[in-house]
Amino acid sequence: MTSHVFEYTRGGNNEPVPDSDDPVHGKPMLVNMGPQHPATHGVLRLVVELDGETMHSIDPDVGYLHRGKEKTCESLGWHKFFPHTDRLDYVQPLMNNCGYALACEKLAGITVPQRGQDVRVLLMELSRVMAHLIYIGTTSIDLGAVTIFFYAFRMREEIYTILDAYSGHRMNNTYVRIGGVYADVDDTVEALIEKFLAETPARIDEIEKLLSANRIWYDRNRGVGVLSVADCKRWSLSGPNMRGSGLAFDLRKAQPYSGYETYDFDIPVGTVGDAYDRYLVRMEEMRQSIRICRQAIERLKKTKGEDVLVEDRRYVLPPKGAVMSSMEELIAQFKIVSDLRLPKGEAYHAVESSKGELGFYLVSDGTSRPVRCHIRAPGLMNVQAIPVLAKGRLLSDMVAIIGGLDFVMGEVDR
């Protein structure tokens, strides 16, 4: 397993000094942050007990965006749940689609054709870039660097343009299906993606140039929210948070899916495990994603015209063209949409999402009604870690901690 290790020097001790000669010292105060607060990235509420400016206890209150997704899956059925998976972690809709589709495929026991897998890898990596851009845009705006927000959104707009050309909508694309993807990439999209891939590394560099050595960014992130690998394991953290602490564990390499084992990419890891490390890891992950996208595009060029959907009329939708012209296919389409029956049993599949391990645990009893669809949300674990990281720090560090952990409330609350 090849991996990148960042080396950078640090100076000084960044631990906060308890304000003992402060007149309010020793008089605890309860402060409510949220659920509508610009720094909480959505509708998270934090009840913070302060002594002076030092946080003593933090109680994250989630559920302000609990939309009942798991119940929805149980009442709608396997196929109709797809649009709801987009809206889980809404900064990376296609990643959630793929995760859910992979879990359903495990349950059904079908494999996606090679081209379908490559398209999925391409979409998942674009989603990762999208999600990390939201991280960098919103966190930097919270820490006072407004320009980065505009830079990040300019790049996101380009991905939106690609997805728009590809699927007809900017976000929440619902593009993946059980057994593959809905339709193939055409030349227009390929050209757009290639243009994006050519331009993006320079733009990531641009953001890094503005931030990495920026005094404010560096001071507000360095030494804030330090996590050891043991902490990460104990608190169920995964993904970039885990890798920021120095453990090179990536599900794409460790438990590969969708043919990730055949791609060439590195896992960036941090050394200290603070918010700054996590930032560096995410920036490098974007570059690695671009690298994977390039390989995927090369493969897609070679396999032009091949199937992107497996042919299996028990679980997989027939192609749209066939539905319009053949009665049998129309019936198959109708049956799959309204009454898809996955085999009895249970299956868990996890993908490496931009926030960590995004898992779907599905239980079927062989009828068209799912028994259980549990979504293992990495974001919930990240929120859970806020009190661990924030305890004893100053209130103003909270913004950096929340930003560094990176979660999206749609997925935390489900």
């Binding site: 559920g63 249970e346 028994v371």
Partner: protein, 172 residues
């Protein structure tokens, strides 16, 4: 991460305890254990088999069967790069299982969520409150006998609203 290795390791760790292997579609090692020994099983998995991370704690409602709830734990070992799933069946009347937050701190929110959604108590959990639904809510949404549209979904809001209106009327 060969399945046999995991099975042998787990079997060695659980020596002397009864468990049953369940056939699953994803091929993950899945143990069905009686609810009386589930705590011991979890302790052994943590201590002896080296499962360092809790991935999820959830439940499956088998209503109208009785015993009704399947409680599911799933763990990940980083050193061995493998997973294990533990299931136990408990009854629907006053359902409870022992907590595992002292072994894996990260299970805390998952257990709270499971309590919130199914009403299953995790004995020994330090702070067992509702996680997602508001604190005054009285139903358990993911139970199968709970309708998708909900039971009085707006009750708490309406109560709050009525109180607020009454206050304004008094102050004016």
């Amino acid at each position: 991460m060969t399945a046999t290795n995991t099975r042998e390791r787990v079997a060695a760790a659980l020596e002397g305890l009864t468990f049953e292997l369940v056939d699953t579609r994803d091929g993950m090692l899945t143990l069905r254990v009686p609810s009386a020994t589930v705590r011991t099983v979890l302790e052994r998995l943590h201590g002896r088999a080296g499962f360092e991370q809790n991935t999820l704690v959830t439940a499956v409602d088998r209503f109208p069967e009785e015993p009704r709830f399947d409680v599911i734990w799933q763990f990940l070992s980083y050193d061995h790069n493998d997973r294990v799933r533990v299931e136990t069946r408990i009854s629907g009347a006053n359902p409870s299982v022992p907590t595992c937050t002292d072994l894996w701190s990260g299970a805390s929110f998952s257990e709270r969520e499971c309590f919130d959604m199914f009403g299953i108590r995790f004995d020994g959990h330090p702070d067992l409150r509702r996680l997602l639904m508001p604190q005054g809510y009285t139903h358990f949404p993911l139970r199968k006998d709970f309708p998708h549209g909900g039971i009085e979904p707006d009750r708490l809001y309406r109560e709050w609203d009525a109180k607020r209106r009454a206050e304004w009327g008094a102050n004016a």
